[in-house]
Each structure stands twice: as C-alpha cells, then as structure tokens.
C-alpha cells in the first residue's frame, strides 16, 4: 500500500477508562497530526482484530478502545495499542484516497429554521452564510452521535456559533447544522441543540446496509444549494460518493 513518509508521531498517552476501555490521546500542537494518528491507530486495531477487543472509536485527538475484560486484560490491550503505534511509526499513515460527497441542501425557511438567527449572530446577510457554507470542502473528522453523524470542521464564519438555549426535542433526518466551529448532517431523527440552517432531501442512514452510512472519516463533503421546489426531486435518493 502506498504510504506517506512517516512524519514524527505526536506524543501519545494511554488512560484507563473503566475496566473495559482505554482512552488514547495524541498531544501535539499539530491538530492534523493528532487526528491522523488516532484514526490510523483505529484502522490498525480494526485490521489486527485482537481477541477480546471490540473496536475503536476515534474522534479528533483521542481514541476509545473497548474490550471484553473476561477475554483480555487492560494490560494486554495497552501493550497492543503501543505495538500499533510503534508499527505506524515505521510504516507511516496508510494513504487512502478520500471519496467526495455532494450534498444538495434547501437553506432557510421550514428546512433551516435557525438560518436567520445564525446570519444575525455572524452579522452577515443570509446569502453570505449560504455562500460560506457551500464554498468549503469539508473533511469528515469522525462519526459522532447520533447514528454515525459526519462531524466536520465548520464553515469559515467570523464567530463560533452558539448552541440553542433550548435544544429541540426532535430534529429531522437530513438536518444540516452548525455549532461552535463545527458542521454536521443528522442521519436520523434525534434531539439536538445545534443551529439547523438547512436540510438535505438525501437519505444518509440506511439501517439495512452495512456500514449504515456511506462515508468514513477522511472523506470530503461539499454542500450545494437547491430550491424548496426541488426537494422532492431528490427525496428518497441515497447519499453516494461522487468519486
């Protein structure tokens, strides 16, 4: 497999996280390196498939490794994690061509009830919020709650976006939201405190397929604006990689 030259690995620390999990944290000022390291380690652990290790959940700078304490032990899992890190130090992070996803979005109105609030808070016209949101190519950083949401670094707004004071009890599937410096699409109906600026008619989550969502961390995603009358044209279509 082609590999990027091995850059210096960020310093890593392993913490106990109860009797059935470890938290691995990469500490360096280089956020990209931290992210690449924890995701590469998660991939390595998955591929290695050690007995009693259920799997790994990588996010930004950390990785949760869950295991069955009846089959393996925290000491063994820690040793296994350190072995993975040492191997990755030699081989570098395996290069995987990211796929790109294009996501049609109806902005504002009933589809994006918080669009005007966000525009006001950013002191920008609504059109500029949409422009900033559709300009960027987003890297999917990790899969979050609920149900494999694609967590992305947010659009280049001037200010972080505050969360709603009263979170909604139910946000529809396909909701396109921003909060802080992050952006996300909701794959499933769930409560939510992020600002909903639009909605995609595409189906993101398919509970009958495996994996349930089509993207993996490292893939990229772009939004483009469609009009409310086009919503039904796309409805029922699945989110699929453009390349």
């Amino acid at each position: 497999m082609p590999a990027t030259p091995a850059p210096a690995q960020p310093p890593v620390e392993v913490f106990e996280s109860g009797d059935a999990a470890l938290r691995v944290v990469a500490f360096s000022p280089d956020r990209e390196a931290n992210w690449a390291t924890v995701h590469a380690l998660a991939g390595w652990l998955d591929a290695a498939g050690a007995d009693g290790v259920h799997g790994a959940v990588p996010t930004y700078d950390s990785l949760l490794v869950e295991f069955d304490p009846a089959i393996t032990s925290i000491r063994q899992v820690r040793a296994f994690v350190l072995l993975g890190l040492r191997q990755l130090e030699f081989t570098g992070t395996p290069a995987r061509a990211p796929r790109e996803f294009n996501v049609p979005v109806v902005y504002g109105g009933e589809y994006g009830p918080d669009l005007e609030r966000v525009a006001e808070q950013q002191q920008l016209p609504v059109e500029e919020i949409i422009r900033l949101h559709t300009t960027k190519s987003y890297v999917i950083r990790c899969l979050g709650a609920p149900a494999g949401s694609p967590m992305m670094d947010g659009p280049d707004f001037p200010f972080p976006v505050p969360r709603l004071k009263d979170p909604r009890l139910s946000v529809p599937a396909g909701a396109v939201s921003v909060a802080g410096r992050q952006a996300v699409i909701a794959p499933a109906v769930a409560p939510g405190g992020w600002c909903v600026i639009g909605q995609t008619p595409l189906t993101v989550l398919d509970a009958t397929s495996e994996p349930l969502v089509p993207y993996v961390p490292g893939d990229t995603l772009r939004f483009h604006q469609i009009q409310p009358e086009d919503f039904s044209t796309y409805a029922g279509l699945k989110l699929e990689a453009a390349r």
Binding site: G18, D19, A20, T59, A145
Partner: protein, 335 residues
C-alpha cells in the same frame, strides 16, 4: 411454533449488545443487566448471546402455541405458567396453550425471559438489540407473534410440590439502596477536591433515567476548568456532570461520543446493579481499582460457567437439547 404476546408492558427482544456498533457511531445497547440475561440464556440451554426478552417495570403476559422450556431471571417478580406459581432463576416447562405471566416486578426494574432454542429477531451489525435512534429492533406489542425455534416436551416433577430444578445459582441481591463500584475516570483531576463528593453523597435515581443513562440527584462534583473539550468516545458507565442539577451515569444506550469530562467509570459488574435501580432508589458510590473490578467480573462469569456445566449435565438426562425425537420423553410418573 411461537409465542403470542398478550400483554406487552414494556418489552423488547434483545441480546448482549451490538459490539461492532460504536465504530459506526451506534451505541452497544443490549441487555442492561448482563448477568441476568446471560443466566437466563444458560438456564434455558442457550448460548449467552441468544436473543431473549427484556421486560422493564410493567406486567407482561404471553401464550405459548407449542411446548417450551423457558427461564426467567432479573428483578424479583411473580411468575406463573398456566396459573401455576413457578420459580425464577430455574428452567420452567411450558405446555402448548399455557400463558406465561410476569407480574409485580419489584425491588428491581428489569426481568429477562429466555426460551430454549431462542426466538427469531432481525439482526443489524451482528445483533438484534433495539436501537431507538436508528429505529431498529423488535419492540413487543399486543398480538406480536414471536417465532420459536425448538420445542421441548413437557417435563413434570413426580412429587407435586417440589420445584422441577434446583440448579443453585447464587442470585444477585436487589436493594433500594445500591452500592455501585467505580474506578477513577480519565478526567478525574479536572474536578479537583470536589471529586470526593461522589463517595460521600447518597444519590437518588431520577424518574428521567433510561437505557441511555441514569440521572442522579445529590451533591455534585464541579469541574474546575472551563477549557473546551473536543468530542471523544466515552465508555459505558462514564459518570459526567453535564448540568448543575444532576449527575449523569451513561449506560448501554449512550451516544458513543460526548464532550463532557469523565469523572469516574462504573465497573462492568456494577452496571448490572444500576440496571436494576428504580426511580427513587438510593445509590452510594465506592472507589475500586481496575484489577479488582476485573477480578469480580470474572468471578461472576465463572459462576455462570459452573451453571452452564450443570445445565449441560442435567438437560441431556431429561432429553432436552438432544436430537429431534429424543425430546419425546415419556411424562414422568406420578402425574
């Protein structure tokens, strides 16, 4: 061959959990009281992870259309089969047409019903455990027909008043004041000296608790720093302080990632205790170490292994679990 649900109460078909879920952003879910669920399956002659029924808080009734062998574990309750009072934590013979009723779940919150040969349920990522977020799983309703896979000829005890089995598993204790063991969380230092409040306070289980997490009222440790926390994976059992009102203890339905510091983590063994606490119950926390927690967890599983080998000896003698045909054991004398 099936079970017809007559009174569903609050019941689902589940197993030990979706262990491959978290990497895809899905919680592990599965039976909240894992010991009771494993015990029920073993007592019914199944593998630990076979689909079984989890009945929470409310009365439950179902009718068997075929001869079955079942086992009911978990919270104390009144179990009747065809009107006869039967024992929990032992195998129970059910004849075709009889009604199985679980009433007055008391002391604990969740009961488990395993059926020899198990029941059919849809599977997602290797597990039938319901996931309320993606809308997956088999929630039982009045009239639901659960397909069963094996039949077991009626087994009768020749001496009327004696229970059929006495396999001798030590049952867990159920109490309205639970002792819950925890290990230090990876972020305990962020709480400074207030972390000790966790061990000196008696907490009360709130009615807003569910399979995602338990909310506990009482004196709250306070985070000393206000630095932003990036979302990260949190383990089942993580104790967080997300608001000034309640302590949150995450259980098996927890969102896989969160942005709150983890003060402590409930041990695998004590997660079963928490699964059985009812709103209003009191909880005290006690600190332990990972090696001690692991030793207790393994001791409990060893007890279940002993039970499995007992079952493995007794069942063939009764013609249960053998080749088709060998189950047609003649009814015992005296009936």
């Amino acid at each position: 061959m099936s079970l017809i649900i007559q009174q569903p109460g609050n019941s689902v078909v589940t197993d030990l959990g979706r262990f491959r879920g978290p990497r895809f952003g899905l919680p592990v879910n599965g039976a909240l009281d894992q010991f009771s669920a494993r015990a029920a399956n073993i007592l019914a002659g199944n593998g630990d992870n076979a689909p079984l029924l989890e009945v929470t808080a409310l009365d439950f009734r179902m009718r068997a259309t075929t001869n079955l062998l079942i086992a009911v574990t978990g919270a104390p309750l009144r179990l009747t089969v065809g009107g006869r009072e039967c024992q929990q934590w032992e195998p129970v013979s059910v004849r075709a047409g009889e009604t199985v009723a679980l009433r007055r779940i008391d002391g604990g919150l969740r009961a488990y019903v395993a059926v020899h040969g198990s029941v059919q349920a849809p599977v997602l990522l290797g597990s039938c455990a319901p996931d309320t977020v993606v809308g997956f799983g088999l929630r039982l309703r009045e009239g639901t027909e659960l397909k069963t896979l094996k039949t077991v000829a009626p087994i009768r005890q020749p001496y009327f008043d004696l229970p059929l089995f006495r396999l001798g598993l030590t049952r867990p204790e159920f109490s309205s004041t639970a002792m819950v063991e925890v290990t230090d969380g990876p972020d305990v230092d962020e709480f400074g000296s207030t972390a000790d409040l966790l061990f000196t306070t008696e907490y009360t289980v709130s009615a807003r608790s569910n399979h995602i997490g338990l909310r506990l009222g009482g004196a709250l440790p306070e985070r000393q720093s206000s630095a932003e926390v990036l979302s990260r994976g949190v383990p089942v059992g993580a104790i967080e302080v997300p608001s000034r009102e309640e302590l949150l203890v995450l259980h098996r339905g927890r969102g896989v990632t969160a942005g709150y510091p983890v003060l402590a983590v409930v041990t695998s063994r004590s997660l079963d205790v928490l699964a059985q606490t009812r709103p209003g119950h009191k909880i005290r926390f006690k600190k332990t170490s990972v090696p001690e927690a692991t030793a207790k967890h393994r001791a409990a599983l060893r007890e279940l292994e002993t039970l499995r080998s007992t079952v493995g000896t007794v069942f063939p003698l009764l013609g249960i679990g053998g080749q088709p045909g060998s189950q047609q054991l003649a009814p015992a004398a005296g009936t």
